[in-house]
Symmetry: C5
Subunit: 94 residues, 5 copies
């Protein structure tokens, strides 16, 4: 799963019927290439600026009760940003 921040939402009138009514959020990754924003479906009610946990791939579709062509979904809203040491030193301070 990836951790990202909700930075915007998608407005689309012409789309597959199965996507009607499904909230689509633009997510900015917290780690790696932070410019590589992507879109995830959301049923949990995540708000802009919140940190979320996103599952990608085929498992995303199975999280929904109906068959929908999505490849990413918010599976959790994160309470507090995880504390991580600088890359390379992570976990070495023990």
């Amino acid at each position: 799963m990836m951790i990202g921040k909700v930075v915007s939402k998608v407005v689309s009138t012409r789309k597959y019927d199965s996507l009607q009514g499904l909230k689509l959020l633009v997510i900015q990754p917290c780690y790696g290439d932070k410019g590589a924003c992507f879109v995830a479906a959301d049923e949990l009610g995540a708000g802009e600026g919140e940190l979320v946990l996103v599952s990608t791939g085929d498992t995303a579709k199975h999280a929904l009760s109906k068959n929908t062509p999505i490849d990413a979904i918010v599976v959790g809203i994160i309470d507090v940003e995880p504390t991580i040491d600088a890359a390379g030193d992570a976990g070495d301070k023990r």
Copy 2:
């Protein structure tokens, strides 16, 4: 899902029978590596220059009514480009 712009289309005479008649668009990603163009099937009638929402992976195939070896499909045409703050500041202005 990824947001991209339709920049061209694919013309292929020799291909799998199941791909006959299926529109294949070249998509340029809006975020991340913008040079990494890819191809997505389209049943929604997206035109060149339009912004689209693309689902990738196994879910793409299931969006079609017949079994076709595709791994990306346009699932929505985006009305307005999402407003996103510069990477790193996204969502922090609240």
Copy 3:
């Protein structure tokens, strides 16, 4: 799907039985990281130097009539390289 050029082929004597007789091509991506060559199965008879359309992931396996552990397959041979504006300007000239 990805667009790539056939640049070589793979010769492997010791392999899974289900891969026997299946042509395995080395493909160079046309967009993104052009050094990231990969291997795709081919049933269409693509020749070296030709541009091809490649589907990746689980859908590749289902394109074959028998169960084979592949993750990429040539699904079309491209007639003419798509015309794409330089990255960043793509589609903006309209």
Copy 4:
């Protein structure tokens, strides 16, 4: 599979019911882009600072006994960090 180090854990109150009680670890990749941390489920009891082997994609979900929307899971805890020559020379000393 990827090799990574456990560097933190995720705390999330609002999440899918199927994720309740499942430990979610933040993993830092040992190879490639070390800044691209991600989250994996863990049933093996990996502790912070330990090296783990992580499977990603649809196979992760099937490792669990119940249907859960995850895309990465710890499948092994590594005894000793593998010895690898510097990139480019790996295996060439033979």
Copy 5:
């Protein structure tokens, strides 16, 4: 599929039962980011320093006779490294 070189192996005592007895090799990619080593299961008996063909994703799991949470597997041992022109010129000499 990816072409890579076997550069090490993984030793893990605490792991899923279904992984017991399965050889796990560390593979260095031959193309793209050569530092991005990863782990693949091997039933073919590939040795350190050999070039191998690796399938990734859900198809890897189906190559094994039992259900195992892996996402990459060696599907062939390569006889001779494929001859590829320098990136950008590949196939253009015809």
